[in-house]
Symmetry: C2
């Protein structure tokens, strides 16, 4: 019987009974090209009163675009533009929560995240922190959230992170990059409009799509997988292959990549990522490298661990003329390497999923440093 390690961690922390995970799913989804126009109708039944606003956290690349005009603002609703240049941070969440509490007398009716993984994760975290006291860093871990979050809606504008379906919001804290993993994290509503992903640059499209692809390679080759997650992971993988190696129209490709991200996110239910994510976390912690490109930077060197996946990845890179940055880790100090290696090796479930129970004998700090040095 394969147990889910994330759940094992939870059990170790809170109860002694081993258990099958009771996986929460997004309870509502609207899908369709142009479905962003439904947002007003979707929010309406959740508006508590005219003083309890809907707060839209929007990627600032959309500032001044027609998308903003389509946001269904009424009463004292507010749009907050946020840069997704950097990974979301715990103190950024705290500042947003303070601002919202300061600006409004009533708790918001809804928090709506419109953007990529960063905006979606910020929306989840802000919704949680509006109804749970203290700072975001207090809740990084497993099942530390005690009260239901404010109703929150996720609207991805780029496909691949899986943040739209996951029960985590990964935040960079003062000491660790770790998710607020809880049943309250998951969105109450997701709206999937593939047309919103139309303006994404080729590089962003590729790196974020590869987040999904790499994630699936890792989970499908992991030791934790069961048939539930396998079926979602396989479908996400098939769709990624169609999108990145097939001959689809741009519009079909957008639709299929949005579904790949959805299924890829669902596949995490009873599976776990592996070497690429473990290493990418270290890279991101030390250098602030964004998750999507970080995974790609690492994955290209993981031939020994995922030979078929890496071969497909290189075909995809070639087809789309993607040139990854080089020398990212060149000239880093020993201390910097130690930090990265240390952060990465702390991701124990990821390593165990990838390499088995005796993973420590297979991935030593020295070996891991050698891999980082290639990047």
């Amino acid at each position: 019987m394969k147990l889910n390690k994330e759940f094992d961690i939870k059990n170790t922390a809170s109860t002694s009974a081993p258990s099958f995970r009771n996986f929460p799913m997004v309870p509502r989804v609207v899908y369709g090209r142009g479905s962003f126009s439904e947002l007003g109708a979707v929010l309406m039944p959740h508006r508590k009163n005219s003083d309890a606003p809907c707060i839209f956290l929007v990627d600032d690349v959309f500032e001044g675009t027609s998308l903003v005009d389509r946001i269904p603002l009424i009463f004292n609703d507010q749009i907050i533009f946020i840069s997704a240049e950097e990974e979301p941070k715990t103190d950024q969440v705290d500042a947003l929560v303070s601002k919202i509490k300061n600006d409004f007398s009533e708790r918001p009716s809804a928090i709506i995240g419109i953007g990529g993984g960063t905006l979606l994760d910020l929306a989840k975290a802000v919704a949680i922190l509006l109804s749970n006291s203290g700072n975001a860093a207090n809740y990084q871990g497993w099942d530390l959230v005690r009260k239901a979050a404010v109703y929150h809606v996720g609207i991805p504008t780029i496909s691949g992170t899986g943040a739209e379906v996951s029960r985590t919001t990964v935040l960079l804290g003062p000491e660790k990059k770790l998710g607020i993993n809880s049943d309250f994290t998951i969105f109450d509503q997701v709206l999937l409009d593939p047309d919103l992903t139309e303006g994404v640059t080729k590089e962003q499209w590729f790196y974020t799509g590869m987040d999904c692809f790499i994630h699936c390679v890792e989970s499908l080759n992991g030791t934790y997988l069961n048939a539930f997650s396998q079926s979602y992971g396989e479908k996400a993988m098939d769709l990624c292959t169609e999108v990145f190696l097939g001959d689809l129209s741009p519009s079909d490709a957008r639709e299929k990549l949005m579904m790949a991200s959805w299924h890829g996110g669902m596949s995490i239910a009873y599976s776990q990522v592996g070497v690429a994510h473990a290493m990418s976390y270290g890279l991101s912690f030390l250098l602030g490298v964004k998750h999507g490109i970080g995974n790609c930077l690492v994955f290209q060197h993981l031939n020994d661990y995922y030979p078929e996946g890496v071969a497909l990845f290189k075909q995809m890179m070639a087809k789309h003329h993607i040139a990854l940055p080089k020398g990212v880790c060149a000239g880093l100090s020993d201390e910097a390497f130690d930090t990265m290696v240390g952060v990465s090796l702390k991701m124990e479930p990821l390593w165990e999923n990838a390499l088995g129970k005796d993973w420590r004998s297979k991935m030593t700090p020295a070996r891991l440093r050698t891999l980082y040095e290639k990047i």
Copy 2:
């Protein structure tokens, strides 16, 4: 833009604004071999007090088996064994609701359906009727349910119906076979334990699995499909093909068929079934033929509409030595044929999905009768 016809019907009935469907998903799922042992822990937080029982509606094939011993009975919980020999009926729902109201002073904490589509549909309907006044037949249609159902849990013991994820419960009423389609119909919790499907007979396994397969053939070849439903339908189809034409171990086959049913059910979100289901409804209404075998009886003759699907179906029949009953419609009166044809042609969205807007010119009553006569 493809709109969902079921939603169109809803709109015609209740509001004039065309809209994208806001699809409800099962908010909680436990998956895994042996996960039935988790049921007690799953129910515990939902127990209101010791007088508010959990009512287990269980397929009577399990009476006296070890599964019953594993049902986590406490306080005044009750098991009600129900035969799945016949399709679920509105008056059967009403009788169950009366019995439960009569037996207990408090509204139940939970209704748990354990069985195939019949038991799952009964559990959904009973949960709705316990909190909505009147008779089950009053709610057959789209979005007629006004109050949230009693917390209800679905535990399939056979795979293929998709009843575990659908927002309908199809009931045979005095005048029509029609679902209670509502957001309140969907289960609050599903537990998927593939081991529970171990004792199913070969014929039941095949007919019920074909419910999923045929459903996917119809939706993937329909005009209503979008990328969301397509991705689920394709995965369900792939899994059915693995299960019925591949070379899996019995245990892997059980796991994959359970996931095929799940994805097949999800694929209905933005799609619709077609000719086989429309005809099977007529057969079932007149002769009480069960849904699974009814679909098979019809589908074998639908070569003109689904040539590839019918070819695969015949391979599957041959591989598993399935012999369908013959002469089912032999000797029926003209009146009987008229009834079947009439019930079937009323399923307008199904016909439009299958044959396009001008379906009436393609499927006349005479042509439909000819198809029925082959069965």
